[in-house]
Subunit: 256 residues, 2 copies
């Protein structure tokens, strides 16, 4: 992500559609806000305060206000934010106005699950193609889509403009698939394979790894166990539970 921005870049800045250059941490939270906003809209809310929205999204209210302030001033002091307007603005910034075509490579265990996931269509994405390297899987129909061979990628890419590639193959195949995706012009990859991908500059890769998440949890579990096993030396680590439950954030995410 070597994206610099010169403080006072001259030229006709302002003619451009804003291009807000948001902090990465903010970008990572916007989808969460968006989901909370959709929930609120479905429940009939027309406006919402930063306090209310932040609670629904599980973050600090000051953080939420600062995040939203980066998109511009879409709130009204003393009132709150217009739900519909804010949804529109966030979708705008995230580029969800156009339905992006996703190519899913690897229709094994996980691939099947992803192909059946309705979160794709629900939020601005459309599975454009299912691909696999295993000839015995080619031709299979999943959720109305026929699995094609991964070597057909160029053909698929020619048929429609692929925006995002999802890799759900075994680790051994992932790098080769990534290369093929990059070769047909894909510049964003979501990698479910447990391995590091090498891609040229300008291509974004995000990784989702179940084992890593479990191991991080394991660490905290381990630490909690060590603490309770200890006599109460010093600070009250595990203080009495407060009356109400509080939404935790447990740092980002994924994220990284």
């Amino acid at each position: 992500m070597s994206q610099h921005r010169h403080p006072g870049v001259p030229g006709r800045a302002g003619a451009v559609p804003a291009l807000p250059d948001l902090p990465e941490a903010t970008v990572a939270r916007l989808p969460e806000y968006l989901r909370a906003l959709h929930n609120l809209a479905d429940t009939g809310y027309e406006t919402v305060s930063s306090e209310g929205l932040s609670a629904a999204a599980g973050v600090n209210s000051a953080k939420l206000r600062k995040d939203l302030s980066h998109l511009g001033s879409y709130g009204t002091r003393g009132v709150g934010y217009d739900v519909a307007l804010l949804i529109e603005q966030i979708e705008n910034v995230l580029g969800l106005t156009q339905r992006r075509a996703v190519a899913l490579v690897g229709v094994g265990n996980l691939g099947h699950a992803l192909a059946g996931y309705d979160g794709f269509a629900g939020r601005g994405f459309r599975i454009a193609a299912l691909l696999d390297a295993d000839p015995s899987r080619v031709g299979e129909e999943i959720n109305g889509l026929v699995v094609r061979h991964v070597d057909d990628l160029p053909t698929v890419a020619a048929e429609e403009s692929l925006a995002i590639g999802v890799i759900a193959t075994p680790a051994a195949a992932a790098q080769q698939v990534a290369d093929q995706l990059v070769a047909v012009g894909v510049t964003s990859i979501l990698n479910f394979a447990p391995c590091v991908l090498s891609v040229p500059e300008g291509v974004d890769v995000r990784k989702v790894d179940l084992a890593i998440e479990l191991q991080i949890l394991s660490f905290h579990e381990h630490r909690k166990a060590s603490l309770t096993a200890l006599p109460a030396t010093g600070g009250s680590a595990l203080t009495a539970l407060p009356g109400g439950f509080a939404a935790t954030d447990t740092q980002e995410a994924i994220g990284t």
Copy 2:
């Protein structure tokens, strides 16, 4: 995580097994190092330099050294790190020496895939139970395990000590399941449902959300498109590709 550490806490410090109190960012990267180390070990490496390991894990070498220095000094200057020793130390810190029991709730599309995922057994975890609220799913056998009703959780927890709960239910059911998990003593939850969970203090929640990852990628895609549509005003955003490919990190995230 409200974990303080008094600089010079007296008492019999040192009797305790170190309890390193690692930075969260470091913890999130350790599993990646661990995987890279296992790969190296399988390939016959006995030692590895920070440069080599960092390349395999897709991070900066200085970052890797600082991360490892938090665990103690397990490297040899002029030589590198002993692969086997480092694996042992990291597994130690992450608490992977004991095989932790995982309860998986929700055996729908995604739950099936997770139940069949071999990354569990591979790295210190064991699926102890499959649970679902749908009576028509109860009794089904997946991968050698029989699906039980989620209300049997207390019984399951009594049979063996559950360390981690994985929620793969629809969003509407997730909070209730989380409450049930917490009620039987689970203090670490991995949530695949697209919603925010409220849990008492002391319970860790990590979230994995496909739609969020896609939307983050969408943002970058959107931004790249805006940039290339622009004339070359100012900085060379998309510079010429360098000769070789470089491993990107794109933060974690999982977190990220």
